[in-house]
């Protein structure tokens, strides 16, 4: 993915574990995490972020039940799902929250009439 990123993809946010792009051609956000790449609509992205942020990480950390070792997260309108450990949930949360913050910044720039975040030439 890293070597052949389409030109229409603009990087929104990146961490060591993944990256979120925006494609203005398809109006999709592209989540690249844990070796997989998933295009999401803005609504599905927001829903998935909410899903990840409501995972009970305290329960995962404190419980001795094997069922609490992993969390299964289904991406909206996709056949893909993530089976994540506690650390991976935290990494995904960091990535999605960071991307969400950058998207919010982009909205604020547009609202106040400033140039929005980088547009490909």
């Amino acid at each position: 993915m890293e070597s052949n990123v389409p030109v229409s993809y603009q990087e929104v946010f990146r961490t060591d574990k993944g990256v979120v792009y925006q494609c203005d051609r398809t109006n999709r956000l592209i989540l690249s995490f844990w070796g997989s790449t998933t295009p999401l609509s803005a609504r599905d992205f927001a829903q998935f972020r909410r899903m990840v942020s409501t995972v009970n990480v305290h329960q995962m950390a404190l419980s001795t039940d094997t069922a609490d070792d992993v969390e299964i997260l289904t991406i909206p309108r996709s056949e893909r799902c993530y089976v994540l450990t506690l650390c991976e949930v935290i990494h995904l949360r960091e990535l999605l929250n960071g991307a969400s913050l950058m998207l919010e910044l982009n909205s604020m720039l547009r609202e106040c009439g400033c140039a929005t975040l980088s547009t490909p030439s």
Binding site: Q10, Q22, D24, N27, L29, S41, A42, R43, A46, Q47, L103, N106, S107, R110, E111, T116, L117, S118, T119
Partner: protein
């Protein structure tokens, strides 16, 4: 870079969140009023029961108005989980006291939503919420007036009290021009 969230909806996430919380609150209110109606019905207060059945329907309509607004504007409305509500009351007075408590809680919540709308610059939703502000003035008046009547009408005139409670309305709308 396109603002995809703005293309999707005019409602920002914090407003969407509080509106969904309000939908839940209205549905809980509806459930509480239904429990009050049931209590009144089985204790012989037929007119008060009718009053609370109507209130229960109204609260559901309030929730649905917000639900449709969110859906129409491209935001996400969630069908809420409604927790169990109390089914038993000590007296008719305690039923109306609970009703007033519930209305005050709803008013406070509406005011908080308007605060969020102003913070987020969402004037469209604020305009919608003004309808709820007016509605709450009426609802609180009715609940208070009912409690006044319970104090004023002698305890031995139960049938008259029940009938009178169900007939309380708020006609003096202070928001309309004369």
């Amino acid at each position: 870079m396109k603002d995809l969230d703005r293309l999707r909806t005019l409602i920002k996430e914090p407003v969407e969140l509080v509106l969904n919380q309000q939908i839940k609150m209205e549905m809980v209110s509806s459930s509480k009023y239904l429990a009050m109606a049931g209590w009144c019905d089985r204790n012989g207060y037929d007119h008060s029961a009718g009053f609370f059945y109507k209130q229960s329907e109204e609260e559901r309509k309030h929730a649905m108005k917000l639900f449709h607004y969110l859906c129409d504007q491209g935001a996400t409305a969630y069908s809420p989980d409604v927790p169990p509500v109390g089914q038993e009351f000590d007296t008719l007075r305690s039923v109306f006291e609970s009703a007033l408590d519930q209305e005050i809680a709803v008013t406070d919540s509406i005011n908080r939503i308007i605060g969020v709308c102003r913070r987020e610059g969402d004037y469209a939703t604020e305009e919608l919420m003004k309808w709820y502000v007016k509605e709450q003035v009426e609802e609180e008046y009715i609940a208070r007036r009912c409690l006044e009547l319970i104090d004023q009408i002698p305890a031995d005139q139960v049938y008259y009290l029940d009938k009178k409670l169900a007939s309380v309305t708020y006609d003096e709308n202070p928001f309309e021009d004369e």
